[in-house]
Subunit: 203 residues, 2 copies
């Protein structure tokens, strides 16, 4: 088998491991933790669905989808860093950079460059595409938490202001989804599955 094809096949086999990377979120029926591969599928579809709500200049949806499909591949080496894990975030960038170099480095060099660029664009969050992709990626776990009774909020004593900060990229990327998120957080607090800040733990 020629070198190029053999690199591509080795890569597609290697990234199968993303199916074994577990996130803090539960799948919405609450039966088990979600893995990063199925999450990547879900956010790509979510991005398709909500594109009409993205702020102007409207991001190129196809670029967003490609970005969302590959940006979490680094978790194969770097693991999933829980959104509210301050210590984990300290070295997240370095861990993910090394992971990106190893994993995308398995590809033929032109593809390695292209995929690395796409991953960096997502991380930098400075294009309309990356801003919308980040917003989608942060909003969906809120739905998971809401539908599963706030399990991971409670486990880690997360309060409302922390969730708002976490999803803050949604505010400018899609004001409509931001309003929706605020309504959902209101309801989560009313249902008692998320603590309002003044309820205790505060920040």
């Amino acid at each position: 088998m020629e070198e190029r094809l053999s690199q591509q096949i080795a890569f597609i086999a290697e990234i199968d491991r993303l199916k074994g990377v577990l996130r803090q979120s539960l799948i919405m029926d609450g039966s088990r933790r979600e893995n990063t591969a199925e999450h990547s599928w879900h956010i790509a579809v979510f991005a398709m669905l909500m594109h009409e709500t993205a702020s102007e200049p409207r991001p190129d949806l196809d670029r967003v989808i490609r970005m969302l499909l590959i940006h979490d591949i680094v978790e194969i080496d770097a693991g999933d860093t829980f959104a509210y894990d301050a210590a984990g975030y300290e070295d997240k960038e370095a861990r993910e950079q090394a992971a990106a170099e190893r994993l995308f480095g398995m590809l033929p060099s032109d593809q390695a460059d292209e995929w690395m660029r796409l991953w960096r664009e997502f991380e930098a969050g400075s294009t309309p595409e990356a801003r919308y992709a980040n917003a989608i990626d942060r909003l969906l776990p809120l739905l998971h938490n809401y539908y599963t009774g706030g399990v991971s909020w409670q486990r880690y004593d997360i309060v409302r202001s922390q969730v708002e900060r976490r999803i803050s990229p949604v505010k400018t990327a899609s004001p409509k989804l931001w309003r929706f998120a605020m309504q959902l957080l209101d309801r989560a607090v009313q249902k008692g599955i998320l603590s309002a800040d003044d309820a205790g733990k505060g920040d």
Copy 2:
């Protein structure tokens, strides 16, 4: 919440159930069965990776990716039909048609129409995009089987000619991937994880 947004959010929550639809394939480390959501992610990335091998006229990759991301959503209602299950295939079309109507029918009507069209295009397999998408979708399980020692081939007494027929869309959609697949099948037979036709069960 306005009607349109509420339909979209209900849909994104509903399709979370695809994470619970199990396929016959194992994930590549052999530890468990693969679910359809993570499979959908994997084939979308595989399509990105191998697009350069697609026959002329080269399919629009972005359309292929969207098609692959949504085409298996019908399995939420219709279940995964094993590739070699002749009885299951008898009513597969009717089951999936009903599933598509219910599931895509949850969406606002313009999106329902668009997603239904994309799903039908995949099923019909008559555009360059649908042909390439089908080829990718059929080729990846072969890699799963190869890397997991042919478990599902053996469990269902599948022989080489059946696999070749199953992946036949690859032949015209990507001759290069077809040659690769034939090499892989040669090796699978040599390793004794797939029966050559003349070894017994044959057709």
